[in-house]
Structures are given as structure tokens and as C-alpha cells.
């Protein structure tokens, strides 16, 4: 990323920042100092967690500094086996749920969005209005009947209650996002495809879907982060240790926490954040753009 560009990017910026005088430079230096202190202050808790995860457990709370005197991997080794299943099981579960949710959202939301944005049919406006309204519907009002429904089918402690809604386009925000995106694509493309003999399916698959990439990337990124971090839904549906996702496993570690457990908790917490941090490092540009344009976080 261009963190230190020396050239103002627009002509207007050049107008508003005349050649640096000494006074200006001092001002800028003060501003940067202030900002860096603030950054340090904000990031300190995270750094503390990272360092603490590698400290001997008994030193974490006695020495709150971030320069460790002694490093160890014991917290990771012990934490990995702190519950009656190794954490590899929980990571595998989380991965399965996350990948499944991404596939589900990409599949169902893009189909829905294409129909709502491009095809003519009678209920179109009504369907679109329903989609918009359901963006605002709080999940808590639906979760109790959903739970009863899934439990009557014997699906508690399986991943179906987590995955089925994703394959049925219930994340209405993504449908809305994709509809808005498709509307920016020129209609002539569809018409050309139709004239060439392609029906709606081929047009969707060969013309619209490839052009929707930015919207699909945004959907993938946010589905990944939300699903990986999700706690409420897995907490309700997954009660057997074997089925836990990582957040539910961490919660269960908290419940059995003793004073010596802080190191393990930090170690496993850190590991749970790692996929998101790695993802952030690679997809930062798309992520920031996604937030700036859609307001998802």
C-alpha cells in the first residue's frame, strides 16, 4: 500500500498544501506524534495479548509490560488440549461452517439479485421491498421459532441450522448490495447476449456473474469475517464439544477458567484471530473499500 507517497494525488490537494515551510513541518510532526501515540494506545491491548500468549502463565498478570523476559510455547501446547477435544477439531468445524456459508451466500444471493435486478416478472417490486425490509429485521425475533423448527428435525448439534439459511439468500444485505451493483452494469450487455441466443441462465453465468466480481469479493470478505466471529448462533445450536466452532470452544474455556488458565486463553484467543489477521493483511484494500462503499463492518 502507498503509505508514504510524497506527491499529493490531486491538483486540488496541491493547492491546499503549499510547499512546506518550517512551521508547517513542525505542525505535521506534532500531528504525527499525536496520532502515533494514539495508535500505540489503541493497539497496546492487542500487543499485550500477543506477548502474553508466549509468556510463562504465572508472569502474565504479575508483569504487564510488553517486553517479555522469558518466552515459551507452553500456553499453546496446554491450551490446544484444554478441552476434551484438541482445538484442531474446532478449527476444522469453523472452517467448514465458514466456507459453507461463503458458498451459500455467493450462490443464493447472486441468483436472487440477478432476478430482482434484471428479469421482468409480476412480483418483482414486492419481492425487492421484502428484501429491503428484512435487512432491518432483528435476528432475535426469528431465532426462537427457527430453533424449534430445526430441533424438531433433529438438527441441533449439526451444521445445517447454520448453513441452510445461507443457501436460501436470507442475508438480505448481500442481495441488496448485488442488486445495486448489477444495476450499474449496462443493459446492452444482456440484450446483446439475448440477441446471440443466450437465455437468462447463460446470460447470468457468462455475462453478469463475471462482471459482478467486486460485489462477490465484498460478500465473500464479510461472510468470512462474520461467520468466523459468530458466537450467538453456534452457541445456541452446538452443545456437544465435538461440534463446537472456535468461538464456542473459547467460551467453554472461559467457563472452566482458573487463574492459571489466562495464558492458555490468550494463546487460543490469539490463534482464533489469526485467520482474520492474515486475511486482513491480504485483503485490506478490498476490505476498506467494501466498508467505505457499503457500510458493512
Amino acid at each position: 500500500m502507498t503509505t508514504t507517497t510524497d506527491h499529493p494525488t490531486t491538483a486540488a490537494a496541491a493547492v491546499s498544501s503549499p510547499p512546506p515551510t518550517r512551521e508547517r513541518r513542525i505542525k505535521a510532526a506534532l500531528k504525527h506524534t499525536g496520532l502515533l501515540v494514539f495508535v500505540a494506545f489503541m493497539v497496546y491491548p492487542l500487543v499485550w495479548m500477543v506477548v502474553s500468549a508466549f509468556k510463562p502463565a504465572d508472569q502474565i498478570l504479575t508483569e504487564p509490560g510488553i517486553v517479555p523476559t522469558e518466552l515459551t510455547l507452553d500456553n499453546f501446547k496446554d491450551g490446544w488440549h484444554a478441552l476434551n477435544r484438541p482445538f484442531s477439531v474446532f478449527f476444522a468445524n469453523s472452517l467448514l461452517v465458514t466456507l459453507g456459508s461463503i458458498v451459500g451466500n455467493l450462490f443464493s444471493c447472486s441468483l436472487t439479485a440477478y432476478a430482482l435486478a434484471r428479469l421482468q416478472f409480476r412480483m418483482r417490486k414486492v419481492y425487492f421491498a421484502i428484501t429491503l425490509a428484512s435487512v432491518m429485521l432483528p435476528f432475535h425475533v426469528l431465532v426462537i421459532p427457527q430453533y424449534i423448527f430445526f430441533s424438531q428435525f433433529g438438527l441441533v448439534n449439526t451444521y445445517w441450522p447454520l448453513l441452510i439459511p445461507k443457501f436460501l439468500a436470507t442475508d438480505a444485505f448481500f442481495v441488496f448490495l448485488m442488486v445495486q451493483f448489477i444495476r450499474t452494469l449496462p443493459r446492452e450487455l444482456d440484450r446483446a447476449a439475448w440477441i446471440d441466443g443466450a437465455g437468462p441462465f447463460l446470460t447470468f453465468w457468462y455475462v453478469i456473474l463475471p462482471l459482478m466480481r467486486p460485489a462477490l469479493v465484498t460478500t465473500t470478505i464479510f461472510t468470512f469475517i462474520w461467520t468466523w466471529n459468530d458466537f450467538f448462533v453456534p452457541l445456541i445450536y452446538l452443545t456437544r464439544t465435538q461440534a463446537f466452532t472456535v468461538p464456542v470452544a473459547l467460551n467453554s474455556m472461559v467457563d472452566s477458567e482458573t487463574q492459571s488458565g489466562v495464558g492458555m486463553l490468550f494463546a487460543m484467543s490469539l490463534l482464533s484471530l489469526l485467520p482474520i489477521l492474515v486475511f486482513f493483511a491480504f485483503a485490506q484494500k478490498y476490505l476498506i473499500r467494501g466498508i467505505a462503499t457499503t457500510g458493512l463492518k
Binding site: S134, I144, P165, N229, L250, S269
Partner: protein, 319 residues
């Protein structure tokens, strides 16, 4: 590379094209309708099974006594009567309102302030933006809630820091007067995501407006109050709605920090945590449904109120 398209996504108004433009061959219409219904199968199933039926089911359950094992028993308004007399219900309402009213303005204030500082001609924007945004990305995770427990614990980071300054720390999480404050701090800490939206909004304000204001003799403050703020009101409104709705539904942090209890003395009993306790710990599904409906009506009312009031302070460029 795609920013222009992205901008259009946001800017694209709700436009409906006429059903049959003059030159479009009409014989495609039947085929389109048939195709649409195939494309919409997942959505229709989802709307029916995951949204509509549960919505009406929970409305029905709100008027019943239901423990999942025995069939629901119609009790009329009993659940709502019970709510009025339920101290925990009122505690959770109070906790949630205090949290929303304090943390959302603080969070948005920080977001706007930092966005203004980062906006014009500052080097290293990408670095600062990422650093401030990182907490937003992680903030709702269980891992960060665990971190928060340790930061505000008796031997935690805050008390060690205060100790260095010679100040006797507080039992933050055990004291009903301070426990909620730690969660407010956590929410304020995640100001990065509204900040990114503010930055994008500031970027859209044309430089010519500032130039014109300068020519008219406006100083920095007048430029801020007469150009920046008015043109940013739609973004402020957008962030406000988004963060308010989000704050009403806070769950993870409260659950982890209090070990699922909402304690001490109900001081972190967020509304959603109470719904969860009633529904999935006590299996009092009827009462939990009634609680959930009250939340939904409250969120709808507050959102509607925001929209009504917005007429008086949100300025859209075209009027």
C-alpha cells in the same frame, strides 16, 4: 481500480425501468418470468421457512407459555404483564439504553474527529486507517471479549497501569457501577469502521466548495460548520442508524465478560442476553418471544424516529 463502480453502487438511486421499453421484443417476457421463478427458488424458500413463518410463529408464541416439551398454552397478554413487573427486564432495558446513548455518540465522535484529522494532505493515511480499523474488525469476537476481561480484571492491564501512577485501581468488572463502562470502552475502541465511512464521505466533498468558501472569506471553523458538516450529514445519519441498530443487539461481549450472567447485579444484562437467558437457558420460549418482539418494535420505532427527525438536520445535496 474499481472505485468508480463502487461509488456508483452507493450513489445509484432506486430506479425502476419501465416494464416494456419501446424497442424490447415482448416475446422474451414469458421466458423471463419463468426463469425468474427458477432463480428465486432459494430466496422464496428462505423467505418462507427462515423469515415469514418464524416471524408469525414468534408473534404467536409471544402470547403463550411454551417450554418446548409441552405444547404452547395460550396465555393472552400474560407475558407482557409479567414484563412490566419483571425487575430483570427493566434492568436490561436500562443497561441497553445507557449503552446505546453513551457509546454510540462517543464512538461516532471519535470516528468523525479522526476522519477529519486524517482527511486532507496527511502522509501515511493508509497506515493510520488500517491501525484504527483493526479493532473494528476484531471487536465483536469472543477473543477480544476475553482480552477485555483480563484488561479490566483485578490484576489486569488497567489496574497495573494505574498502579504505576500510584493510583489504587478499581474492581472494574465486579463493581456494578463500572462494569458497563468497560463494555462502552470496548465499543468506542471499535470506532474504525464508522471512521472509514466518514473518510469516504469527506473524500466526496468537492474541493471547489472549500475554495469558494475561502474566497468568500470563511476561516477554517466556518468552512467546517458551513461546508464539511452539512455535506457530511447524510453519512453521519447513515453511521448513526447503523451503529444504533448494532448497539441494540450487542450480545457476545456482554455474554463473555459476565460469564453469561449479565452481572454484577444485572449491570451488564444486555437485552439480547436476557432474551437468550429466557429462551435458551430457562427454555421459557413464550416469554423470550414476547421479549424479542418488544425489541423489534423498539428498534423499528427508534429507526423510524431517526428518519423523521432526519428531515430537520440531514442535508442532501440536491435540495
Amino acid at each position: 481500480m474499481l472505485t468508480d463502480e463502487d461509488r456508483q453502487v452507493r450513489a445509484a438511486p432506486e430506479q425502476e425501468e419501465p416494464a416494456a421499453p419501446t424497442k424490447r421484443p415482448a416475446f422474451h417476457l414469458n421466458r423471463q418470468g419463468r426463469a425468474a421463478h427458477i432463480f428465486l427458488i432459494p430466496w422464496q424458500l428462505g423467505f418462507l421457512l427462515i423469515t415469514a413463518v418464524p416471524l408469525f410463529a414468534s408473534l404467536y408464541l409471544a402470547f403463550t407459555d411454551y417450554d418446548i416439551l409441552n405444547p404452547p398454552e395460550w396465555t393472552g397478554l400474560e407475558n407482557f404483564r409479567r414484563m412490566v413487573q419483571d425487575d430483570q427486564f427493566w434492568a436490561s432495558v436500562k443497561v441497553t439504553l445507557v449503552y446505546v446513548l453513551v457509546s454510540v455518540p462517543l464512538q461516532l465522535g471519535f470516528a468523525l474527529l479522526l476522519a477529519l484529522i486524517l482527511d486532507r494532505g496527511l502522509k501515511g493515511l493508509a497506515f493510520y486507517r488500517s491501525a484504527f480499523y483493526l479493532p473494528s474488525l476484531l471487536g465483536t469476537s469472543v477473543a477480544i471479549a476475553i482480552l477485555w476481561r483480563e484488561i479490566f480484571g483485578d490484576d489486569g492491564l488497567i489496574n497495573k497501569g494505574l498502579g504505576l501512577l500510584g493510583i489504587q485501581g478499581e474492581s472494574w468488572l465486579q463493581n456494578p457501577n463500572t462494569a458497563l463502562a468497560t463494555l462502552i470502552v470496548l465499543n468506542v475502541w471499535t470506532f474504525g469502521s464508522p471512521m472509514v465511512i466518514f473518510l469516504a464521505g469527506l473524500r466526496q466533498i468537492p474541493d471547489e466548495l472549500y475554495e469558494a468558501a475561502k474566497v468568500d472569506g470563511a476561516g477554517v471553523w466556518r468552512q467546517f460548520t458551513h461546508v464539511t458538516i452539512p455535506l457530511l450529514t447524510p453519512i453521519i445519519f447513515f453511521n448513526l442508524i447503523l451503529q444504533t441498530i448494532g448497539a441494540f443487539q450487542t450480545f457476545t461481549q456482554a455474554h463473555i465478560v459476565s460469564g453469561g450472567t449479565g452481572g454484577p447485579a444485572n449491570s451488564t444484562l444486555f437485552y439480547t442476553l436476557y432474551v437468550y437467558q429466557q429462551g435458551f437457558v430457562a427454555f421459557d420460549m413464550g416469554y423470550a418471544s414476547a421479549l424479542a418482539w418488544v425489541l423489534m418494535v423498539a428498534i423499528a420505532a427508534i429507526t423510524a424516529l431517526h428518519f423523521l427527525v432526519s428531515k430537520y438536520w440531514v442535508f442532501y445535496g440536491d435540495n
